[in-house]
Symmetry: C2
Subunit: 184 residues, 2 copies
DNA sequence: TCTAACGTACCGTCCAGACGGTCGGTTAAG
DNA sequence: CTTAACCGACCGTCTGGACGGTACGTTAGA
């Protein structure tokens, strides 16, 4: 079979996907053995692509950020109107992401120092984007807090809220970007 | 010395506090041995109070919820005005809580099924309180999302934001409770 | 009031198992 | 032929928890 041959980048991607799956199924303390088995690779093969368990987790972190960034850019409106970036972030936050926004996965990522670095970079960029987005600071602050809250709720109360409630919250946030004055 | 004598509830509390400290200092995978040492107790003594590592973590979870509930009630305004409960939650969320809102502690608590139960109970009660709090649903939703976001930011971006920014956000949320009409 | 009996708090040791990572070897690709 | 991908056996370490024992507190009976 073609595609079953040796192919380093492909194997790497499969190991990452397997790691996410294994984390979800077996909790944040999965063994490298289990991940390797899930990926259809020996433990030695896994350690060839990721030299340590931490390196594997860093790989997950980078994939996660890349994925979110790509989502935001995909959801950007073509016209350059006030609140454009903010709306893209709102839509990206509400997009379903079954693989990454799972408690066990996040638990594994927390505590790895590289996560802090990437978060700092992301926070800086988000601030730059919203600062020049044309919204009142009060609105930008409130919306970004609420988006963080939606993310947290996704992690802790998975599926507790109905789809309608989610849509109501999303629409409310989107509407808050349609005016540029102070809130109170 | 009195007070150094045998005293089960006292030892229990000290073990819990030591567990939180050890988690913060040594990460989410602390050994029982380390916790026992931190508490000035033998490992056997620790396991006398908490029959397993999981039981110890459940103890932390219960203490955390009790502490938060007590804080909210302490911060309740005496007069029964609209938005009373919501304001108490806002103030409680912004109270510094060095011990519990630490990434390593939360990491350890995540994944323990008992946490989900307590979260469900808390979410239900919060909803009851805010439903009868006299605010417009849009306001209640937005505020509770933003509070979740503040909690998440405390965990992930500890100390990144200045005290002024925090106060601005808190004051904005408090002001949002002073009117009862729709937001948009 | 003394004391014997009992229950509870706490100690220190030990062990089976799991885990991360290393190493030499083997096979496919260029 | 050289290099990179991959295998699988192996090692040292660590950890949760079991267990047998000790010291202290308490209370009932005389």
């Amino acid at each position: 079979m073609p595609g079953e041959q040796r192919n380093a980048p492909r194997t790497r991607r499969e190991v990452l996907a397997a790691a996410a799956r294994a984390l979800i199924e077996q909790g944040p303390n999965v063994s490298l053995d289990a991940v390797a088995k899930e990926a259809g690779v020996s433990k030695g093969g896994l350690l060839h692509h990721f030299r340590s368990k931490q390196a594997l987790i860093v790989g997950l972190i980078e994939e996660w950020f890349d994925h979110y960034d790509a989502t935001v850019e995909r959801l950007l409106e073509p016209e350059d109107t006030p609140g454009r970036w903010t709306r893209a972030h709102i839509r990206a936050t509400f997009e379903p992401d079954d693989l990454w926004s799972h408690p066990s996965v996040v638990t594994a990522l927390l505590g790895v120092p590289e996560l802090q670095q990437r978060l700092d970079v992301a926070a800086t960029r988000w601030r730059q984007q919203t600062d020049s987005d044309g919204l009142h600071p009060q609105r930008a602050d409130l919306i970004s807090r609420a988006l963080d809250g939606v993310t947290l709720a996704d992690l802790l109360w998975r599926g507790q809220e109905s789809a309608e409630e989610r849509e109501h919250t999303r629409d409310l946030l989107l509407k808050l970007t349609e005016q540029t004055g102070p809130l109170v």
